[in-house]
Symmetry: C2
Subunit: 341 residues, 2 copies
């Protein structure tokens, strides 16, 4: 018999998942009281929140509970990294229907743990609730280690624009799943087929979390995590800093090349060959969201930290702030909006 959430009371469900949750050194009082207590050694903490809703951010036919746990953690942890901080603690709210399988919730906890453990972040508290659909809300916290936060507003003309992490894989994976050209199994843990990087990138993004504090230590002037697409998020740095972020097509080619197997699997290689495949891959690189790479600007004399690749340069706003591709307005439409999908 399949054990479902409604077969357990709240304490029974907690007894199954709390032991699976990640623990961390910053936790002074963990789950079980009205609130947790977390260390903030430099007298400040970074905090952000992100929500995942069934059928808006994930679908049960593609994502397991484990996938959703990894993804919920990853996109939140990336927000702390994007401030130049190290993630320390998460609280997790979970609303769910009574017929949800308990194994799904246990998978969620394991996914949170596997995403958090490499950086030492703990789940220190949460809330379980009934709901007509599954909804996972995470608030994430981090420590700046005595450094200033890296905001979006500090880019200056002359700075180098650089990126850490993957580009376009999540969008490519989504396109493959939507077209039926790949199955979720192609992105299951341990899958090693040619489409595994894309489906895995969509189901369980892996942001470059160590690169956030590294960028901060190296003197990054601005940074954010790329959640809504490279052009759109670069535009946010441009707008906040009052500059032009100029990206160089040549620097984007390695990302484009990496996505060609996904573009080919969608049939583009067969008909009209490389032009359409290249265009599709470039669109994923420029407009694909949810990879949660880090886009940062650095003073021109800085040696980029490991993991960062130069993508372009910051120019004066002339006449307006914005994003250019080799100095020209980009032709690809930018990212997407939550309420108009």
């Amino acid at each position: 018999m399949t054990l479902r959430v409604r077969d357990l009371d709240e304490s029974g469900l907690l007894a199954r998942i709390v032991p699976l949750l990640p623990t961390g050194a910053a936790t002074l009082v963990g789950p079980g009281d009205d609130a947790a207590v977390v260390a903030a050694p430099d007298g400040r903490y970074v905090v952000s929140t992100d929500v995942l809703v069934e059928d808006f951010h994930f679908r049960h036919r593609w994502s397991t509970g484990y996938d959703v746990g990894v993804r919920a953690a990853a996109q939140n942890l990336a927000d702390v990294a994007a401030m130049g901080g190290r993630p320390t603690a998460l609280v997790v709210g979970l609303a769910m229907p009574g017929d949800l399988e308990v194994a799904w919730v246990e998978g969620l906890a394991r996914g949170l743990a596997d995403a958090c453990s490499p950086v030492g972040a703990a789940v220190v508290g949460g809330d379980l609730s009934g709901g007509s659909v599954v909804m996972v809300s995470v608030a994430v916290h981090g420590d700046l280690g005595g450094r200033p936060p890296v905001l979006r507003s500090g880019a200056r003309p002359g700075d180098v624009v650089a990126h850490a992490g993957v580009r376009g894989r999540s969008a490519a994976g989504l396109a493959l799943l939507e077209a039926g050209a790949a199955s979720p199994g192609d992105g299951a843990p341990g899958a090693a087929g040619p489409l595994a990087p894309f489906v895995t990138g969509f189901l369980r993004p892996a942001p470059p979390l160590d690169q956030g504090p590294a960028a901060n230590a190296a003197g990054a002037t601005a940074m954010l995590d790329v959640s809504d697409g490279l052009l759109r998020d670069a535009g946010r740095i441009a707008a906040a800093s009052g500059v032009v972020v100029d990206l160089e097509r040549g620097a984007l080619q390695p990302y484009v090349a990496e996505l060609l197997p996904a573009a080919a699997a969608l049939g583009d290689a067969a008909d009209r060959a490389s032009d359409r495949a290249l265009a599709r891959a470039l669109t994923w690189v420029l407009a694909g969201g949810e990879d949660h790479g880090l886009l940062a600007t650095f003073p021109p004399d800085v040696t980029l930290p490991d993991g960062f690749t130069r993508l372009g340069a910051v120019r004066p706003a002339d006449p307006a702030a914005g994003v250019t591709l080799d100095g020209m307005p980009p032709q690809t439409s930018p990212g997407w909006d939550h309420f108009h999908q």
Copy 2:
């Protein structure tokens, strides 16, 4: 024409609500970047999270956006107070369907502000998402001011049991609305009819937030906020501390008396008069949830802080930890469970 969420893009919606959100002195970096930065002057912070889901925690026919904002903030702020801390910062996730009125979301922001402003807590960040129903998730943070957190586990035999805040009002208000004996208008801001305290108490609970740090300063040995009913939550202190929490019926009578108008409005006064009304009111006092009063234990020699009323005493576990009423097992069933309503 009614303006709905789908008529605006995300930045348009943010432009309307961010100016309405409460601000506070602990905010170092507020909304608008990947994450906020908040001061934690004593090198630690308290953190908790609570989720409200449409049709599980509120219904549109009873609660306005303003009501939901007050309630979402209040029940979270109470968790910080229950640790003996002062709330400083909230992050808020909001999932909602596109046909939700923008005025509802603006009301939510105003409700958050009105609940937070008296204690100086700020909304420092958030996330907006589509959703098939409205779901509000809040993570709340607070400052302990250098004092230890007040856990549930510190009650000792001989301690005084005391309570701050109202008891049973939320349950009475819910019963009145469910029976059609009161309308949401009876609890609208400024309503002053005989049923106003109950309907208001259900729609917009007002936890005694200042009493949390006051109890901590006075040396409280254990504390929690009463969210699931007095017996059930007293049982949590008893279990965590390994003691018996003995409540005295006589000390509960003022709460019972205050609820009699609500019991009478349900028809009990007319038929069989006082016995049934008294029994109903006592059940609300003992088992009614969502008032978010503070239940605390203090060493016997402590002068109770303003706002606290003595309810009983802590006894040794004999043989087991638990709750008694005048030394006897209570006959009223305890609180409720989220998955078996």
